[in-house]
């Protein structure tokens, strides 16, 4: 991991286009300003991590046939 010391008002650039600025430093935390290309997603890590876990739990090699069958049948019945 690259570790840098920055003061309020100072910036870091990631790649050619992503700029992270330390806006202010307070007792509770650090406020960051992020400028990134419009197709870049920026998320708090906890949120990203939660979705990552959720995807990993959903990724499956196997199919629980009876569960899917059951749900699919109920959904189709509902749509009629």
């Amino acid at each position: 991991m690259l570790v840098l010391t920055r003061r309020a008002g100072e910036k870091v650039v990631i790649g050619n286009e992503i700029v992270v600025e330390v806006l202010s430093i307070g007792g509770e935390g650090v406020r960051l300003g992020i400028v990134a290309p419009r197709e870049t997603s920026v998320h708090r890590y906890e949120v990203f991590s939660e979705i990552q876990e959720s995807n990993r739990a959903a990724a499956t090699d196997e199919i629980n046939q009876s569960s899917i069958e059951n749900i699919a049948a109920r959904l189709r019945k509902q749509q009629k």
């Binding site: 419009r38 997603s41 990203f48 959903a58 629980n64 009876s66 569960s67 899917i68 749900i71 049948a73």
Partner: protein, 142 residues
């Protein structure tokens, strides 16, 4: 409606999906026996696949806002409606099955490019349970 005409369509996820950055190409496979579900199977890792569904088939009023970065990434003009899929976590007790409404997959049907969004500022859950109407309905006899 999230319908492609063929039974199998290759989708391109330029940035992979969250937690699976290498999953750049995936086959969306229709499951005629399990309509309205589909497989989304990685073409880079044969062991990675997801059960997906157009969440609006289950949650009829689900209408996630398309994040600007996803629209930009998929080159979607404002008039174009993307297809939407949610991953499904099937449980051996089917009533514990959950659907990820927080991080839908948006797909540009014309270019077959897709991206997984993480919605912010919403109450959509990544582990939404099946609606009561589905849970409570008597199993259809056939």
């Amino acid at each position: 409606m999230s319908k492609f005409n063929s039974d199998e369509t290759v989708l391109h996820f330029e940035e992979g999906i969250v937690g699976f950055p290498a999953m750049r190409q995936a086959a969306l496979v229709r499951l005629p026996d399990y309509e309205p579900f589909w497989w989304l199977a990685s073409l880079t890792d044969p062991h990675t696949k997801f059960l997906v569904v157009d969440p609006r088939e289950i949650f009829t009023d689900y209408e996630p806002a398309l994040p600007a970065e996803i629209a930009a990434r998929l080159d979607l003009q404002s008039a174009e409606k993307p297809l939407i899929f949610s991953t499904v976590k099937i449980s051996s007790d089917w009533t514990n099955t959950t659907i990820n409404l927080r991080a839908p997959l948006f797909v540009n049907a014309a270019t077959k490019r897709g991206a997984q969004a993480i919605l912010s500022g919403t109450n959509f859950r990544h582990d939404e349970r099946l609606p009561e109407s589905v849970l409570s309905e008597e199993k259809g006899g056939e």
